[in-house]
Symmetry: C2
Subunit: 355 residues, 2 copies
């Protein structure tokens, strides 16, 4: 089993160090290869996703990814900016199924901006389509408006599109995820306005025929954003497109108040996957040894479970993370009075010890 | 001054009755004309926005709109569904500037799902572009995928597009709104992925040169959704496109926990406007005299202020609404122990009395 390690930028390298430490402590030999990505790769090789990095990622059985992005690269032209690396990896590796859990650990209930009774016990799974939609739809660009009331004016344009096989495969993934949980699935769309998402609704409804044990609801994206704020626990598994999923999965993560805890998985059709924290590269706190490494460590656990079939090792890591929380250890992002503030490194060490 | 009254469906007619009662109690003669819209218009005339209704709306100086939509019309083909009426009115009347305040009344702080310290005193204004973007962009429809990995498969597609004059005029409106408030504006986009919103960012940045007294920030839409949940009071005026505005304005409204209180205004280039509650038609509670009429009554106040130049009358209504809240009167949606539960009609009567 070969694992590609892509630490990236900002806090990426320091939280990745902790995850690697945990991996090494599992008492098993993993073959790993560490390569640069994002701003770090641009700085070294002039491109955020160099051919050599893509090759290592392609040949690996799974990819553990840190985070990309830094202020210093904000002025680069778009195609060279760090984010392009993650978009490129998703597309080139066909990682169409993004799993973003939003889980509130009981010990961290206080960190949420929502009232405890609204969020305690929160455990939702957002399944976001990751290789289609307006993220990749062609044509796109700048032009003179070809028609409409502002014909001839300069305009920017993009194409939203979803084909039947794309919707079908993500729907299957989502229904199967729902079967393993509470057998409820909410499909989020904007069928009342968009042709793309009327079609999305029709295809999801059709796939539902194969999963009659799952209760399917359709919800408009604006309503979903409201219901996530009002009563998030009414959701269990949510499936949606790339653009709506980007917005809703971040909102859902933030409901927990502890986005530094949340891992994510992006899978292809054969369960090969890229695993990364739900949070970003946080360049403002990089190098200070204060970032929370738990999302990265839990991403490792997800990798062991989904791509490497090592359920027992995944369980061990997740149990160790719960144990350090119970011990009262907290990085600064989740610190509250009465708990013990620890550094990135100390948190990683504590997880290793608890394994 | 001519006012078109469009009660619509669901709870629309009953909350509109209360607003009309308040209008009549102002001690001034308004020329009004009431016409059907949405499902009600479809039932009567076979179309959700009949020519006759559109004509009345076009000739009026302002439009007071209730709400549209009902389960019974869900199976109609899209072009006949009630929502098409509101989309049609926006487009035909050129109502490009949508103002959606999210205000938490101190008396209702308990209704929010967020902790009081996070939301108390919340007062944000979302300025949403309303006649462009993927809502109206052509081409759109169903076809065989012309290219890409699923070439030949059936697909739904839509076009996102914004031209320079469209972005410019909404940016001016938003900067001017910010000048009247705390002189801070957050422009929300997805410039890291979408051509349309890279252009949006460039044009907003350019318009900023004319408003140097306003502090402008740019924020990605996924981050904006997170920050709204984490620390909504850090926002003041927010400007964004039609699609992102749909999602974010509903999320922001729900932060208050009292969406039954929130009005909205949709204006054209000459301050002619359509005024409607931020909430929907709630067909499940229609006809029960339990809906909250205050968003409709506050929409009337916004109409008097923005389109009819009657600031004093608008102030009187807003003061009366605050007074009934202080008296402890609550419709069921905002009821909590220790307050007095009232019906739709009783709430309308109370506002009239407090005028
Ligand atoms: C960095 C950006 C392109 C990316 C996205 O929009 O998908 C990020 O927000 C995410 O959700 O992983
Ligand atoms: C009814 C629907 C078409 C509409 C929209 O998406 O604009 C509504 O959600 C709104 O925000 O006014």
């Amino acid at each position: 089993m070969k694992i590609a390690i892509l630490p990236g930028d900002g806090i990426g390298p320091e939280i990745m160090n902790q995850a690697v430490k945990v991996m090494n402590a599992l008492g098993e030999k993993f073959e790993t290869e560490t390569v640069p990505v994002g701003g770090a790769a641009y700085a070294e090789q002039g491109h955020p996703l160099p051919e050599s990095t893509l090759k290592v990622a392609k040949e690996a059985d799974a990819i553990l990814f840190g985070a990309v992005g830094d202020f210093k690269y904000d002025t680069l032209e778009r195609s060279l900016r760090p984010e392009q690396a993650i978009l490129g990896l998703r597309k080139h590796l066909g990682l169409f199924a993004n799993f973003r859990p939003a889980i509130l650990y009981p010990e961290l209930a206080g960190a949420s901006s929502l009232k405890p009774e609204i969020v305690s016990g929160l455990d939702i799974m957002i399944v976001r389509e990751l290789t289609g939609d307006i993220y990749f739809g062609q044509p796109r660009g700048m032009r003179e408006a070809p028609d409409g009331p502002f014909k001839g004016a300069r305009e920017g344009f993009d194409t939203m599109r979803y084909s039947e096989p794309e919707i079908r495969r993500i729907a299957h993934v989502a229904f199967q995820a729902a079967q393993k949980r509470s057998k409820r699935l909410t499909s989020v769309d904007k069928a009342n306005v968009l042709e793309t998402f009327q079609f999305w609704r029709d295809v999801v409804t059709d796939v539902h025929k194969e999963y009659k044990d799952v209760k399917l609801d359709h919800m408009y994206v604006d309503n979903a954003a409201m219901q996530l704020v009002r009563a998030p626990k009414e959701f269990d598994v949510v499936v949606t497109g790339n653009m709506f999923g980007d917005i809703l999965s971040d909102a859902a993560a933030m409901l927990t108040g502890s986005i530094g805890m949340l891992p994510s998985a992006s899978l292809d059709a054969n369960n090969k996957g890229l695993y990364e924290p739900s949070h970003g590269s946080a360049p403002d706190i990089a190098g200070k040894d204060i970032a929370n490494p738990l999302a990265q460590i839990l991403s490792l656990a997800m990798m062991l479970r989904y791509s490497l079939g090592k359920t027992e090792q995944a369980d061990r890591i997740e149990t160790a993370v719960k144990a350090v929380l119970k011990q009262g250890l907290r990085t600064v992002d989740i610190y509250e009075a009465g708990t013990t503030k620890v550094s990135t490194t100390q948190m990683g060490d504590a997880v290793v010890k608890a394994l």
